[in-house]
Each structure stands twice: as C-alpha cells, then as structure tokens.
Symmetry: C2
Subunit: 212 residues, 2 copies
C-alpha cells in the first residue's frame, strides 16, 4: 500500500480521525472487535461510508466478525501519522491560548506545544503548562531549532497575517488559526480555521428563522 501516492480528501482524513478516537476508547475498554455498523453509530457516519473509507486503505475487516480493534487502530494511526510526535508553536497566550496549551486532546494525538510567544511583556517569562512564554523575536530561531511544522494562532485578527508570514518563512507548513480572518498563504501551506464567533452566529440565524 502506497500511502504517499494517495490523494484523499480532508473529509476522509477527518472521518478517519473520528474512527480513531472511537477505536482508542474501545481499546482502552478492552473491546476486541467492532463492526462497521457500530463504528458508524458511534461516529454518526453511515456504515456504507465507514466500509468505503476503510477499504480505501486495504482489507481490514472480516465479513461477519468485523474489525480487530487493535489492528485497525494501529493502521489508522499509521495512515494519519498520529503515531509520531509533532511539535507545535503557539502565538498569543491569552485565555484562548492558555486553554489550548492545557487541552489534553492534542497530546493524546501526538501534538506537543514546545514553544509559546506573546507580545505582552507581563506574560513573557511566565510558565503555562510547563511552557515558558517567549518574546516574539525568538520565533524564527525556535521554529528552526525545534523543527516546528505546526503553528497555532490565537491573537487578534489584526496581527494574524503578519505572524502567518513569519511562520511560513521560518518553515511552518500547517497553521491552526483561531483569529477571525482568512489568511493568505501559498498553496502548499495548510490552514484550518476555527472561527468560534462565526460558528455561534449560525445559531442566531436558526433561532430567528427556524431554518438553515
């Protein structure tokens, strides 16, 4: 199986990621096998879609008995690259930034914050979740030395593009953006935007109009 040559959509990757979460949980509860119908129920995915996604990466399951939880978990981890450790940088150690540093879900998937930066002199030198906040001037140095490929932006929109440019110039390839702004990046850079305010704004439309 040549993963390198696969062109799969990020929707598939996202679904695999949710299957992995369920499988990890089952494995911790010592469940040995699971069917595509059960995976589907636990992730709100049609079971036909589950089978299609898994078949995409080779023959995992046995008809009738289902999938071996441990094996399937290992295989998906391998495909997603979550068996590796990835270094992550954070810019902006406000309330959202600190919540991200403390969030256990990242470490579970192999993502470790190894550097944090802020422009606020009062925060520089302070420690949050064992990470010492540094002056922005060390951004490039830290990214290169610690081989950081993922940058997390938790600053106001007005500073986000400039930080993105510095990230990319220093070697960051993936940006996790919490600033409410669309970032301009080269095509090879991957950005995931989490715009909490726009997400919640959907609800007001629904509550007002009872449709969307």
């Amino acid at each position: 199986m040549q993963i390198e040559s696969l062109k799969i959509s990020y929707f598939t990757v996202y679904r695999l990621s949710t299957y992995l979460r369920v499988l990890s949980k089952l494995d911790r509860s010592r469940v040995g096998t699971i069917t595509s119908v059960e995976i589907g129920e636990m992730t709100c995915t049609p079971d036909t879609q589950v089978r299609k996604d898994l078949a995409y990466f080779g023959q995992f399951g046995k008809s009738g008995t289902g999938y071996d939880v441990k094996k399937l978990k290992r295989k998906i981890s391998e495909i997603l690259g979550t068996r590796k450790i990835w270094h992550v940088a954070l810019i902006g150690v406000g309330s959202l930034g600190r919540a991200l540093l403390a969030y256990p879900g990242f470490k579970e998937r192999g993502f470790y914050f190894v550097a944090a930066f802020d422009i606020d002199k009062k925060k520089i030198g302070k420690q949050f979740n064992k990470i010492i906040v540094q002056d922005m001037r060390y951004l490039e140095k830290e990214i290169k030395e610690k081989k950081i490929k993922i940058g997390t932006i938790a600053v106001p929109a007005s500073n986000a593009q400039q930080i993105t440019n510095r990230f990319v110039d220093a070697g960051v390839e993936c940006i996790f953006n919490f600033a409410p702004i669309r970032l301009k990046v080269m095509k090879k850079i991957r950005v995931r935007n989490i715009d909490l305010a726009s997400e919640i704004a959907l609800f007001s439309f629904y509550l007002k109009n009872k449709s969307w």
Copy 2:
C-alpha cells in the same frame, strides 16, 4: 422579503457571518462603500459567490459603486439575528470553558453567557468573567428562567450526551459542542461540533503524506 420562509444552507449563513465581520470592521474604520470583489478578497470567497449570496436577500448594491457598508451591515445583522441578544449556558468550567467565557467574539455578535455549571465542588460558587459557577442541579431551572436557547458543552466526551439530553428537555435548541463525541439529538435541534483534536490531527496526515 420573507426571511421566515427562506430555506438557505448553513454554508450560506456561515459566509454571511464572515461578510458581517468584515463589514463591521470597515464600518469601525469609517469606510463608506465596498464592492463584492473587495468583500470576496477579504473573506477568501469568489466575488460571484458574494454577489449571489447577497442578491438572495434582495437588491443591496449598486452596479459600479458597490455596497453601502452601513446599510449592508445592518441588513445582514438583521438576517442573521445578531442584532438580538442571545442567552448562552456553559457546562464545564475547565480551561476551555473559561476561555469561552472570556472570549470577546461572542458578545460582539450578541451572545452572552448568563449561566455556567460544573460538577467540581471546588469550582461551584467561584466567579469567572462575572459568571458564578453553579451546581448542575440548577441547570433546568436556570435555562427556563433565563430563556436560554443555546447550550455550550465543554466537558469530557463521557458526560456530553447526558448533558445534551438535559439541555434539550429544558428547552435548549442549539448546542455548541466541544466534547469529542457525536451527539444524538432530535432533528429540530442544531448542533455545531468543534473537535479541536480531530482538526489538528488533519495536519499530521498532511505532514506525513503531503496531500489531503
């Protein structure tokens, strides 16, 4: 124009929400008019899509001169229901929950946390961003009294479904879910899932395979 009868996709609502953000910013900077091309550039949306979205709700712009920023902003606010104040409840006052309470983007859109709950006895009675954390037993009472229609879940996956059921039974219609689990709800309930760990997991796939 009968908004009530409109059946529009949540993708459209989401885009309108991003236009609104840009328009609010322009209005604060005292910019008077804007073209669909400019809105498109600022939100990374094709300008044909911008014009289509806006035309959907009536004739806003003038050919050649563009849109009146103030008028367009008011109109979209009205459509999205963000000119109203919405009451929001939070369950789970951990690091993520506290970041959500402190997040200024919600208030800007008219969403106010008016109640917060936790099972941790040490947190109950404490105040975060002027909200006093309450015992879970008062959940139903608070939701009814304060006419809360939006519930935010920031607890571990294992408790999320039970809380969802209590929310819905008490009258909540929209759920903003940060627990890494797909919630089972009636069709008329709207759920937005923010699964931070699954989002970041997409990056490991990309970094490993250079595709998605």
